[in-house]
Amino acid sequence: MRTSVTGVAIPKVCGIETEYGVHGIGPGDSNPVMASSLLINAYVTEAQRQVGWDFVDESPGNDARGFGPEGAMAPEVETHLVNTVLTNGARYYVDHAHPEYSSPECATPLQVVLYDRAGEVILRRSMEAAERAYGAQGRIVVYKNNSDRKGNSYGCHENYLMDRDVPFPRIARYITPHFVTRIIYTGSGKVGSEVGNRERRDGSRVDYQISQRAEFFEEEVGLETTLKRPIVNTRDEPHADPQKYRRLHVIVGDANMSEVATYLKVGVTALVLTMIEDDWLERADLVLAAPVKAFRQVSYDPSLSTLLELASGRRVTALEIQWELLDLARKYALERGITTLGEDPETARGVLDRWESTLSSLESDPETLDRQLDWVAKRKLLQAYRERHGLSWDAHQLAAMDLQYHDLRPEKSLFARLPMEKLVDPDEVGRATTEPPPDTRAYFRGKCLQRWAGAVAAANWDSLVFDLGSDPLRRVPMMEPLRGTAAHVESLLAGCSSPAELLEKLGS
């Protein structure tokens, strides 16, 4: 073993944004934009005072490859829609025709799991609040899935902090094989196919596939998120110091119900990005010959046996690519140590161990992961139901079960009935609906909103704007995702009795 060299990779501050499916079950027309607004309004009215989101620094049209927005794509600014920031540091708003919850910035994968679950609790409370506030019109059901089974898909995006100095083509080159193959543990499972059945040349049908999202991807790299979706999204909007950072916006993921799946999705991806940042994968023979095709091949093959072609001509399974990434990560951890998933190296070790045990189980018998992985749990349930009732895979009951697995109502959710492994304590999840994570800038945002929501004119990922009643508005920039933590500002905030005092002490 070489002497330990400290890596140059930076902490993988991360978060998850989930667009939920909405379905009005009250009388009359169900307008999804209206339904989403009712949910959020009702929640916010009950839970806290609404705070307007500040769009000043939002530029979703910027491209990581260096060029500006294309003429065809205007920045999507929807200030007229409901848009709010919660005291846990999350953003909760209407995006297109879905309620979207963007978790606060988190420092560890387990924290992401916690705040992702907190988002589900918030949506569940929103459903209850909407019915209380609006009666029959407010009877809206929320689903945490990615497709309506009719070709319409909505996303669950991840975000990871990256060093600006890492060349984007290197990120795209090495993260692609990971994105294409990680679905063997991050997939949420789907009955049938929305594009595959008509595409297969040999006449075979897709009865059940691993991923909800995979088949909606048509490009390798690009800026779009809704049309011609790319496996690697180039949106360049760091929400932080743009000289130092980039935010990798990941749009390929399935929304997971399983905590283990979310943990692995975020944890392993953060590990792979750490290695890319440190140029650790430079000689790895992992580049796929045809990533878009491979993504579907992996999703359509729950037996995990399909061979994917690499650019080198070698043919490997998705599982083999994951094993090779794991071996590289083990060596990297041994030589350099990994502190990018949290300061304690145990955090990264926990992800490595879980990754390894999951790959071992997938190799010997995926069924043994029926309490850990969504696609395995869902498939087992569907198989048993199919056998009991003698149904074929295209039976409506199975499609209904597929949707209902993701229903957030406890009395209807199929997921909630399964004995799935839990990684976070439900009481902690409850606290996380109102308390920010302590070790990112979300702490400062959340705490200011808890104490002085009335004086916060606008909140953004990278700034808070205070209105003290006298002009001008005062802006507090938060360009460093790891500043403004409890360690930095807890005593400062405790020592201030008003926002004016805080601003004075901050010298802004």
Binding site: E19, G21, V22, H23, P32, D95, H96, A97, H98, E100, Y143, S147, D148, R149, K150, N152, S153, Y154, G155, H157, T225, T226, I251, E320, W323, E324, D327, E356, S360, L381, A384, Y385, R388, H396, Q397, A399, A400, M401, L403, Q404, E411, K412, L414, R417, L418, P419
Partner: protein, 65 residues
């Protein structure tokens, strides 16, 4: 991948009684799991949306992101 082979640990040699005990236990376990699944399927029959066909047809979303 040689390293991967190393990860597959050899099971220690076991006595015949241990194997028999294990077989009995695993059949008990299989029974229990089957009962558990049957109960779950009963429950699903109760909570599944009444008209599956209509429910699936009416579940229409706008594309997002």
């Amino acid at each position: 991948m040689p390293e991967r082979e190393l990860k597959k640990k050899q099971a220690p040699a076991r006595t015949e009684t241990a194997v028999e005990d294990e077989a009995a236990q695993s059949s008990d376990k299989a029974e229990a799991l089957k009962a558990e699944m049957d109960e779950l399927l009963d429950e699903i029959d109760e909570v599944l949306e009444d008209n599956a066909e209509e429910f699936v047809r009416n579940y229409v979303q706008k594309g997002g992101e």
